[in-house]
Symmetry: C2
Amino acid sequence: MKKTNINAELKGNMAFEMQIDGHTVITDATPENGGNGLGPSPKALLLAGLIGCSGIDVMTITKKMRLEVEDVNVEVEAETRDEDPKIYNYIKLIYKFKGNGLSYSKLERAVKLSMEKYCGVAAMLNKAVPITYEIKIGD
Amino acid sequence: MKKTNINAELKGNMAFEMQIDGHTVITDATPENGGNGLGPSPKALLLAGLIGCSGIDVMTITKKMRLEVEDVNVEVEAETRDEDPKIYNYIKLIYKFKGNGLSYSKLERAVKLSMEKYCGVAAMLNKAVPITYEIKIGD
């Protein structure tokens, strides 16, 4: 079992700065929420984590499937409820693939495997938020 | 209800780059996991989100309480299980406060209010992962 340790320091009003895997990450409230906008807002980092986690899986799985994926674009939409705690009502992902002779059913299987079996971020978030996904093949 | 929309582009092997609140966020697998280490790994962004979210609450609440908080440091430790999906077994936060005449019980109440009432990130993650916290007052 792997342990992750992060140490975050207050910067300014209510921003926090930390090092993760050798990279500096700053998160802050937006100015309309009393922050200085020094970094992305914390909740949106969950969406970044979900994109990254499932993206890594999908790239790994499609490579094993020998699919010729040339480009991937992921759109995510999330709706935040008004009441505290302000959790997401839903998260919707749209995966758009470009490549040579891509099979829709194989791409769908790759995304499904990530979302239902491999992606730890999805497995944690979907206990609290319904996550749906859609696959598109572009030019 | 507020909608958040993010669009992420594949960069290199399996990194994804996106704009969040006007800031560029890149997430990637570490080289030992087949990535190029271009950014923090996705799962750790959940911890950054948790720190940022509860940090904003705690700074807001302690200000309302008129506590003279001069500095805050947040340590987080999370253990990742070995089986797929690789979720966290637990998340432990340690809040270390510095300031003038700080009341332990008020600080504890501020953190408790965040973790149990206000912080949307905590409310989502704690459906899947036990989250504990500790408060320390330093010099």
